[in-house]
Symmetry: C2
Subunit: 111 residues, 2 copies
């Protein structure tokens, strides 16, 4: 996962409403939820929700598909996997966030 994609994903999740939407979709599983149900569950005006859904979609965190009049949104678990993977590898010093104590030897910047 590229740095730019990571930043897009992070900023997409870095919002109260979008984080709530995403969590809801994760709980909903691969089947997803129509926009209307999300709006009702989170008590958000349709236009505001649409803005947030578009944001999450642009960031690649959710997918959109149509079912009749409804647009179904679902969490993209692969993308989320990529994000968590990046954070673990690049921001936790590898492993599972182990403090990276006693590094075998200080990593020296090449030249």
């Amino acid at each position: 996962m590229k740095s730019k994609a990571v930043i897009d994903a992070l900023s997409a999740l870095a919002n109260e409403h979008r984080l709530a939407v995403f969590r809801l979709l994760v709980q909903a599983g691969p089947e997803g939820q129509p926009a209307g149900a999300i709006a009702e569950a989170l008590d958000l005006p349709a236009s505001s929700l649409s803005f947030h859904l578009a944001h999450l979609n642009r960031a690649g965190l959710i997918t959109q598909s149509r079912d009749g009049r409804s647009l179904i949104y679902a969490a993209d678990f692969t993308a989320m996997n990529g994000l968590v993977g990046f954070l673990t590898e690049n921001c936790c010093g590898g492993a599972s966030c182990a403090p990276a104590v006693a590094p075998t030897q200080k990593k020296r910047k090449a030249s």
Copy 2:
């Protein structure tokens, strides 16, 4: 980790420069780096960097300590651990981002 803290951490990392700073500090390990070294490594004006460091610090992702004239910043691995933990548990459907397929039964919101 509370939702508010998660959002603070996510929005702190959702910026090109701050993500670079954080990664640098992760690589630097628990000993951290003085602000000046970071500014030089990332080629950022001192005042801009200071703004970003304050942001990361407010979010709890880095710690600050003084060593003479220098202010040493270091990644807070515990906080990062908490963030990744939250994302894994709440945004990946538990496990390690398994698609959470075939949920035993739909979780119903308690009244």
